[in-house]
């Protein structure tokens, strides 16, 4: 399932948009060094971390999208960087575990 399809199906907020790619897997984490060494590309990255470095890390891992969980919204700097880099940032009210289950269910990953 592509990110745009996923955003519609899940009803998650869409903060920024980018290239519409398939979500092939998922990764949950907030420690950026763990994420860049362990998350695989084309993943949905689920996090509660909300700062500009999230956009830099998302670019490095080539994730399909970022899903900010637990009602977190991107701050101004993250919003601006994600927008300029063309990164999808979605927002879920669920906690990370529940959001991960939603990704797994809808995307079949």
């Amino acid at each position: 399932m592509t990110v745009s399809e996923f955003s519609k199906e899940s009803g998650y907020a869409v903060f920024t948009k980018g290239e519409d790619r398939e979500i092939e897997t998922g990764y949950c984490g907030d420690f950026l060094s763990n994420i860049i060494s362990r998350a695989t590309d084309a993943c949905a990255w689920l996090t509660v971390m909300n700062n500009v470095n999230v956009a830099a890390v998302a670019t490095l891992i080539d994730c399909a999208c970022i899903i900010l969980c637990e009602g977190v919204e991107p701050d101004e700097a993250l919003y601006a960087r994600a927008n300029s880099l063309g990164i999808w940032v979605l927002g879920a009210n669920e906690n990370v575990f529940e959001a991960a289950k939603t990704v797994a269910r809808l995307c079949g990953v």
């Binding site: 950026l32 860049i36 500009v52 470095n53 490095l60």
Partner: protein
């Protein structure tokens, strides 16, 4: 044979927002050169960790990339506090980052271990009170 491409970046030590610009720029260059995605990823990760270290620990510095058709050499130079115990600093999970840095998602103690993991050669030249130069070579 194409000549070596040399890219040099100033890494601002006061500005977390700009951290990642050097590695993003090198990543774009390597992609344009047709370097394999796996190699591009290794370079981007190793260089990003280096950039972050310059910001967190050294009040900034310089990131230099020398790109050849078959490899990249990266130098991360600072005039920061130096590393007192390199073996300890290389240990996964060891970090001297402050609570404030950790709240930004850094300080997991994986910076230097990740740089080693993703490079083919790594050398650390450091002196306490003088500064540190980390050399990374990644073969494509």
């Amino acid at each position: 044979m194409e000549d070596c491409i040399r890219l040099e970046y100033d890494v601002d030590g006061e500005n977390f927002a700009s951290a990642g610009h050097a590695s993003e720029s090198v990543k774009r260059t390597l992609k344009q050169m047709g370097v394999s995605p796996a190699s591009v990823r290794r370079v981007a990760i190793a260089m990003y960790e280096g950039e972050i270290n310059l910001v967190i620990h050294a009040h900034g510095g310089k990131a230099i990339a020398e790109i050849d058709p078959d490899r990249i050499d990266i130098y991360l130079k600072d005039t920061g506090p130096g590393i007192a115990d390199v073996d300890l600093a290389m240990r996964a999970g060891y970090s001297t980052a402050t609570e404030n840095i950790r709240s930004l998602g850094f300080g997991a103690g994986m910076g230097l271990p990740n740089m080693k993991k993703y490079s083919d050669d790594m050398k650390i030249d450091t002196a306490v009170g003088v500064g540190t130069t980390v050399f990374l070579r990644i073969c494509f």
